[in-house]
């Protein structure tokens, strides 16, 4: 009968967590010597945590930093001919469809033609509206999970789009500027045509 080395993670886990050499406490930082609590991997791993929140934050922190880094590395969305970006900011849109409701993140672009929310990976326009379709905009604050957050409500064809960004007032300003320039452009073209 030949011995096998193929029994997988838990055998290894058992050895590495419960056996093997350890050192005196003053020499090292260690979490060794804590017995396995249960049979599941989750329980086994729980036994090696000394600071619960530390582990949680670290992972989230790293993940978030990676995401941001990827997002910031420039790769612009597709613009139409003659389209110029006036303002860009990181923000969210409220999405509610059936059972799913959440704030979806992306980059807001205000151009001379439209306003859209663009996500780089996977590439997707999460929201888009031509300037002329915008009814009204209103900036205010909402209490969300005990924190006061600034929000911009945009009325488009009878529906309200809820928007958040790092500086909602600045965003509002940018949109209004874009709308007025459009008005000027339209009236100009109107005069030219008319």
């Amino acid at each position: 009968m030949k011995p096998e080395r193929d029994y997988g993670l838990v055998d290894i886990l058992d050895r590495l967590l419960n056996k093997g050499a350890i050192l005196n406490a003053d020499l090292i930082i260690t979490v060794a010597g804590i017995p396995l609590i249960g049979l599941s991997l989750k329980a086994a791993l729980a036994s090696i945590e000394t600071m619960l929140d530390y582990g949680m934050l670290e992972a989230w922190d790293r993940e978030t930093r990676v995401w941001y880094k990827r997002q910031l590395v420039e790769s612009a969305p597709h613009l139409a001919e003659g389209e110029v970006v006036h303002y860009k900011t990181f923000g969210y849109i409220w999405y509610s469809e059936g059972l799913i409701s959440s704030w979806r993140p992306g980059f807001w672009y205000v151009t001379n033609v439209r306003i859209f929310l663009w996500r780089r990976e996977p590439e997707e326009a999460l929201f888009e509206v031509l300037l002329e379709k915008i009814g009204s905009i209103e900036a205010g604050s909402e209490i969300d999970f005990g924190k006061e957050r600034e929000e911009l409500d945009m009325e488009v064809e009878g529906r309200i789009a809820r928007i958040r960004s790092s500086d909602v007032l600045e965003f509002e300003e940018a949109i209004r500027k874009a709308l007025t320039s459009q008005d000027i452009a339209q009236s100009q073209s109107g005069r030219i045509q008319g």
Partner: protein, 264 residues
């Protein structure tokens, strides 16, 4: 998070030193694993912060553990004799600190390395199929057989009591049988293994053994040349219908390395 995070060395094992001094980026989180030598021994480490590796992410933790295990296997391959460390043992300090520790405890470490040289850890678990073993015991004993056959024809209350009697007798039989096996095995193991450690609690068994009763679990430190004979012995037991043997190894001597009483 710490303001002045100190330097640390994640220690995987102590080895009898060899010519190579770098194992490559094979460590946890792709850290570079190297040797910190002192004389003819060395510590296998990677540089890190003096903070433990903790995570709630199962996948990540799994990776860490496998990476640590891999480094131990690699070290065993390259250096032969390895004193494996537990997961997440991090030395406070730098290479100098590790070297100092190696120097102060040279005799102990060298001694341990000599002790486990040429040996590996093997784990044995023996399971029995209770039903099959019960059948074996009953058919071997005419009194028990008569008892079992008789119960079918008894009135309810009486049957209950005689069934209990049968159960107790079978239990005795099982104990006798396993004691016999233990004695037989024990003698042979003494011959072949240099050290044996009985496992009081086994945390997990593969699915195919889950329904079975475990009657023995132990680890032994054995020379490479003793493994075949040991395997043959276990084969004899495994061949019997009522028993299944789980034989795993070779492992680095996790259960047998004794570093208590290192100085400082």
């Amino acid at each position: 998070m710490s303001e002045t995070a100190k330097e640390g060395r994640y220690i995987y094992s102590v080895v009898s030193s060899g010519p190579e001094s770098d194992l490559g980026d094979v460590g946890i989180e792709e850290n570079r694993v190297r040797l910190v030598p002192f004389g003819d021994i060395a510590a296998v480490v990677h540089s890190c912060l003096a903070e433990p590796y903790v995570t709630k992410d199962d996948e990540r933790a799994k990776e860490w553990v496998l990476e640590h295990s891999y480094v131990i296997d690699l070290a065993t391959e390259r250096f032969g004799t390895v004193l494996p460390f537990s997961f997440d043992v991090i030395f406070i300090g730098d290479d100098e600190a590790v070297r100092d520790w190696l120097e102060e405890n040279y005799d102990l470490l060298k001694g341990e390395l000599e002790r486990v040289k040429g040996e590996a850890e093997y784990t044995v678990q023996i399971f029995c199929d209770e039903e099959k073993l019960t059948e074996k015991i009953v058919t071997a004993d005419s009194e028990l057989q008569r008892l079992r056959d008789g119960i079918e024809n008894m009135p309810k209350g009486t049957a209950y009591l005689y069934q209990k009697k049968l159960d107790l007798k079978i239990k005795d039989g099982l104990l006798e049988e396993t004691a016999r096996l233990a004695k037989e095995l024990g003698a042979k193991i003494d011959e072949l293994a240099d050290e044996v450690k009985i496992e009081k609690k086994v945390s997990w068994v593969p699915d195919k053994y889950k329904e079975k009763m475990m009657i023995a679990a132990f680890s032994c430190l054995m020379r490479h040349d003793g493994v075949e004979a040991f395997g043959d012995l276990l084969e004899e037991i495994d061949k019997e219908d009522e028993y299944s043997v789980r034989f795993s190894g070779p492992w680095a001597p996790f259960s047998f390395v004794q570093l208590k009483g290192t100085r400082r």
